[in-house]
Amino acid sequence: MLRPELVFVGLKAASREEALQLLAERMLKEDLVTPEFSARLLEREEAFPTGLQFAEAALALPHTETRYVLQPALAVAVLAEPVSFLAMGAPEQSLAVRIIFLPAVVHPDEQVRWLSRLISLFQTPGFLSGLLQPPNRESLFQYLRAALNAAPL
């Protein structure tokens, strides 16, 4: 699911829209999603915001419908500067987000296990603060791969 070309460190984006567009464009370039994916992702984020506040950091978990996804994938970005995401279930609340996890899901029932591992990681002490440390793509990729392999369901 995880691949180095979908991992970003110090990504520069002025807004959540720009951040999501950058990630979606990259996924399109890799033939992982359909051309509509980017627009649907942005629409979906406005309708059903995905910002989540954890003790160590806030993150966003944007995603959209399976019909715009060609292959399962996970894009991960640590932004250079935080952008505003609205909180899931509490859209009146704005969160300053530097961490984005963008899962592209084709079959939810088949991919729920690694999604669940990912959610477990968010709750694991040290994971999110550690995520902000790696200085480059390769080291962040290795950090994520090791963490995902070790995460409980």
Binding site: T50, L61, T66, M88, A90, L115, S116, L153
Partner: protein
């Protein structure tokens, strides 16, 4: 107690609802709750609610009354106040188990 249906709803029924449903199934197995957990995307929630007993709603957490108890599923994602939510869910399941009048059936 007879089997109850828990609906888990989020915007698309893809990522957050599936994950939450997996967690509720795991907790239900541990606690031996006789429940079936179904995932439903938000636009179909109203229709699905007629055949269900409890709604666990992630987002949007709307103010709509679906005629059955409803609670927030966010703790299953964040871990924050999860114990409290599990207790609430268990309390609702026990309440539902109290006998109530069966609705009249067509043709009877």
């Amino acid at each position: 107690m007879p089997q109850k249906v828990i609906l888990v709803s989020c915007g698309t029924g893809v990522v957050t609802a599936e994950t939450t449903a997996l967690r509720i199934r795991k907790i239900a197995a541990e606690r031996k709750w006789p429940v079936e957990v179904r995932v439903v995307e938000f636009p179909k929630l109203k229709q699905a609610a007629t055949g269900a007993d409890i709604i666990v709603q992630i987002a949007p957490h709307d103010a709509e009354d679906y005629g059955i108890p409803k609670l927030s599923g966010l703790p299953f994602l964040t871990g924050f106040e999860l114990d409290k939510t599990v207790q609430q869910l268990e309390a609702i399941l026990l309440t539902l188990d109290k006998p109530k009048a069966e609705p009249p059936q067509n043709g009877l």
